[in-house]
């Protein structure tokens, strides 16, 4: 039973929660010149929930990786801290969403009894995902006035299907590639120097390409479009070792984006803001430039928690959470959190390598690709490396659907790591 005693995880959880609670104590000190217990209620509940989850792991997956959970908990805790600093009410809601996410992850640890059974339902999952997107386009709600219907729900409870779609699509690709990887690796079609597999096996690639463009055009959701394409390309590369897929897929996306640039004004606007935000500083480039100013204000060490003015940046709790972190925690704080995210990615890849089951390998790689690519897309968008696209920073941005999706990812990774023995 020594295996059930997850000592490393407990010690790291103590450290992670101490950092998070220390941050809340600091915030209370800055705001009220006292550490008020009332300010610590929600974070303490969250801290307890992380230990409770660890107990759950001891029961359900005693052999699971002991590093992922404390790191994910620290990231989520820092997210709750920064969101609470910006908007205490949102912070409370984020705690609730995160605990719901933990419950969902706990579910993912044990259901279904055999994970590989998901392979059988891959098309069900794919069509369910597609249905969700179409439903959103048709019957969704535009709750923040962006001009696009991206939410589904009623009576104040809304979720973003595109977030739930992320782990779903990783499961589908893992199952599809596990089945077809031999066929996809073999080249039958020869077009000049490029050798391609038979056309019918390329259909999913074309489908994902279509889905990306659909999201881009119908939802103005360039971020998710990039993300889905990125996950697919990363996974097909892992599955087939054929560089032609990532390169070909990327070329196709560029072609599609180029067409979209000329056909759709909102795509053109975004690109122009990216190329020259300075001329639009007071208008469409306002958010980007204010985000950069917030980052610059932080400098190396940051203004200190609760001591900057990150609320001056538009949508700072979600897409621009990085600007708030950068302003108050500085480059050091941002790099520390990025290092934790990269650690999750690397740990996930190590789990994939250690796994003996190809479906598990592909799924683990796909799940961490979601985390890694999403981080690159939003941080790169904030710092003007690429056009700004609204995706949440994993585990850190405010967002209920995103929290649920991220915890499902964490749960599945833990499960795969535990199943390898």
């Amino acid at each position: 039973m020594t295996e059930r005693l997850r000592l490393q995880e407990w010690l790291l959880l103590v450290l992670a929660n101490a950092i998070m609670l220390g941050g809340f104590a600091l915030l209370s000190e800055v705001r009220y010149h006292h550490v008020l217990l009332g300010q610590l209620t929600y974070p303490i509940v969250f801290a307890l929930s992380t230990f409770l989850f660890s107990v759950g792991l001891s029961v359900l997956q005693p052999a699971a990786d002991q590093f992922i959970w404390p790191v994910v908990s620290l990231l989520a805790g820092m997210g709750i801290l920064v969101v609470s600093r910006l908007d205490a009410g949102l912070g409370h809601r984020q705690v609730v969403w995160t605990i719901l996410g933990e419950a969902l992850a706990l579910l993912a640890l044990s259901v279904p009894r055999d994970l590989t059974v998901l392979r059988r339902y891959k098309y069900t999952i794919a069509f369910a995902g597609l249905f969700l997107i179409i439903l959103t386009i048709v019957a969704g709600t535009d709750i923040n006035g962006s001009g696009y219907k991206r939410w589904i729900g009623f009576h104040g409870i809304y979720f973003q299907p595109v977030e739930i779609l992320k782990p779903m699509i990783a499961v589908f690709f893992a199952a599809y590639l596990d089945e077809k990887r031999e066929l996809l690796s073999a080249a039958r079609l020869q077009i000049g120097p490029i050798r391609l597999p038979p056309f019918q096996y390329l259909a999913p690639l074309v489908a994902v390409w279509g889905l990306s463009l659909l999201l881009l055009v119908k939802q103005n959701d360039l971020g998710s479009a990039l993300l889905f394409l990125g996950i697919f390309l990363a996974m097909i590369y892992v599955g087939t070792a054929r560089a032609v897929y990532p390169i070909g897929g990327f070329v196709m996306f560029v072609v599609g984006a180029f067409l979209a640039f000329h056909l759709f004004p909102h795509v053109r606007d975004r690109t122009e803001i990216w190329l020259d935000p300075w001329v639009h500083a007071a208008g469409s480039g306002f958010q980007l430039i204010q985000g950069l100013i917030a980052l610059s204000t932080g400098g190396i060490g940051g203004q200190g928690l609760g001591q900057g003015q990150p609320y001056l940046v538009p949508v700072v709790t979600t897409d621009f959470i990085l600007a708030a972190i950068g302003e108050e925690l500085g480059l050091l704080g941002v790099v520390a959190l990025l290092a934790l995210l990269l650690f999750v990615v690397f740990r996930g890849l190590a789990i994939a390598i250690a796994s003996t089951n190809n479906f598990h390998k592909l799924l683990a790689a796909g799940l961490v690709a979601i985390v890694g690519i999403q981080t690159i897309v939003i941080v790169g968008g904030t710092t003007r490396l690429m056009p700004l696209t609204g995706v949440p920073l994993p585990y850190l941005s405010y967002g209920g659907s995103a929290a649920l999706a991220n915890y499902v990812i964490a749960g599945l990774l833990l499960r795969i790591s535990g199943a390898r023995a």
Binding site: I293, L295, T297, L312, L331, V334, L338, L342, V345, T383
Partner: protein, 481 residues
């Protein structure tokens, strides 16, 4: 498959590395550039929260204060509009002026000597508190003079000759700095022909007229070319006199009405001053010679700007590098020619004569006090120049006493106070009335105040400016000066 997973890991490592490099660019390398952008709302937020230092008069009367609203923003208010061109304004929209501008670093707490408290405050992100400034101005005298002076363009300045401290400086018309935030009011100030934004004491630029004769006389006595008892007879006193082909007309009127008396030639040099006889001073100037005249003018601070906490125009005597001809010398000797002075320059010259020939640097700041009450700096009196000897000073003083006692300055005469003064009527060309000047100091033998008064296009110095100066002296004496 494992090799591909490792390559995927390398891709993420490189991508994260690029992101961190880019973040380093924005957060460190280009940070000051971005933070300094005018569209950074933090800059204004911080500036609006600075507890701007208060400004007091020499007796602790609040002149510029601050209120802090519920959101922590600081608002400036001013209590005496007559000081609007001394203290100036601090407007988010229109910038700063005068003391608010020149002492902004003190007022916003940016001057070094950062105390431990300030360091802790900056760590704690507490708003900065600026230093308080105490002026040498006596607001009681300031308000008296403000009420006394006519509303049309005019200026008056009172200085303590012993230490150069400015006790009052009034410039009309003035404005209400509290209303600067109103754009319509600001526009009206910009278009007002009376130019209320100008401090006429420091930045008014006028020919000194006959008040300048005290400088010419000082130069002539100090260099030994003349004495007060020199006799001017006939046309030497009355004119006309021709210099370089220019005829200066007869001045019989000055001698026929010299403080109500008739002074027939021959007259002494002292009587030439008492009756403000241009013909006499033309001859004194020519006798002195251009080089010595300019040298003494410069010794009296004419031709340069003294150090002063608010912007001051440099007075002008003669354009250097151009020939200083006999005609210009003759005209300059009685205060015309190319001469242009500020009232501040004239009060300094007057004070120097009263102070035994020692000209003090003008002072406006008495002390600057840190928020914790400790003195940041208290400027001490310093000698700016020593234009003439004490003997010369006392001789000129005795002549100036006569001006007020029995000469052109009789309307400044005050019961029980001995005043030494000089009138001036500065021709400005054209058809407008001349500027009316009066400069004086009192008590004449040990002066505690020196005064300069000018009323633009006010007519005769004797009738317009002298009574104002006399009243200013009486007000100052009543306040204990």
């Amino acid at each position: 498959m494992n090799a591909n997973i490792r390559r995927l890991g390398i891709f993420f490592l490189i991508a994260f590395g690029v992101i961190v490099a880019d973040l380093t660019y924005w957060q460190v390398l280009d940070a000051s550039n971005m933070v300094g952008r005018p569209d950074n709302p933090r800059l204004r937020l911080q500036a609006d929260q600075v507890r701007r230092g208060r400004i007091y008069d020499r007796n602790g009367v609040l002149l510029a204060g601050r209120t802090i609203d519920s959101q922590g923003f600081v608002h400036r208010y001013y209590t005496d509009p007559s000081l609007s061109t001394v203290i100036g304004y601090d407007s988010p929209r229109y910038g700063m002026s005068e003391l608010e501008q020149s002492y902004n670093d003190y007022l916003t707490g940016q001057v070094a000597g950062a105390s431990w408290t300030q360091v802790v405050n900056s760590w704690e992100h507490r708003p900065v508190t600026g230093d308080d400034i105490t002026l040498t101005i006596d607001d009681r005298l300031q308000r008296d003079i403000d009420a006394l002076m006519p509303p049309n363009p005019s200026a008056a300045v009172v200085m303590d000759p012993r230490n150069g401290q400015v006790l009052a400086m009034v410039s009309h018309p003035n404005f209400d700095a509290n209303q600067i935030k109103n754009p319509a009011y600001w526009q009206s100030l910009l278009t007002d022909p009376g130019r209320p934004l100008i401090n006429r004491v420091a930045d008014g630029y006028y020919p000194p007229g006959s008040t300048f004769k005290i400088v010419t006389l000082s130069a002539a006595l100090d260099s030994g070319v003349s004495s007060l008892n020199d006799i001017y007879a006939g046309t030497q006193a009355l004119g006309p006199i021709t210099v370089d082909g220019h005829v200066f007309p007869n001045t019989i009127n000055n001698l026929n009405d010299c403080g109500g008396r008739v002074i027939p030639p021959p007259i002494t040099l002292e009587e030439g001053l008492v009756c403000s006889d241009n013909i006499v001073f033309i001859q004194v100037g020519l006798k002195l010679g251009g080089t010595r005249f300019l040298e003494y003018a410069h010794r009296f601070g004419i031709g340069s700007a003294p150090p002063f906490p608010i912007p001051v125009l440099a007075s002008h005597v003669h354009t250097p590098g151009t020939p200083f001809g006999q005609l210009e010398l003759a005209q300059s000797a009685f205060g015309q020619g190319d001469l242009h002075v500020t009232p501040l320059a004239m009060v300094m010259a007057t004070a120097a004569i009263g102070n035994g020939g020692v000209m003090e640097t003008p002072q406006l700041i008495k002390t600057i006090t840190a928020p914790n009450g400790s003195a940041v700096t208290s400027p001490s009196p310093s000698t700016y120049s020593t234009p003439i000897s004490p003997t010369t000073a006392s001789e000129v003083t005795s002549a100036m006493k006569q001006v007020v006692a029995v000469g052109t300055g009789v309307l400044a005469r005050s019961q029980g106070i001995s005043i030494a003064g000089k009138t001036g009527t500065a021709e400005t060309g054209g058809t407008q009335l001349p500027h009316a000047w009066f400069v004086c100091f009192a008590p004449a033998d040990h002066p505690r105040i020196a005064v300069a008064v000018i009323v633009e296009h006010g007519g005769e110095g004797a009738t317009t400016a002298a009574p104002l100066a006399g009243q200013i002296v009486r007000d100052a004496v009543a306040l204990g000066y």
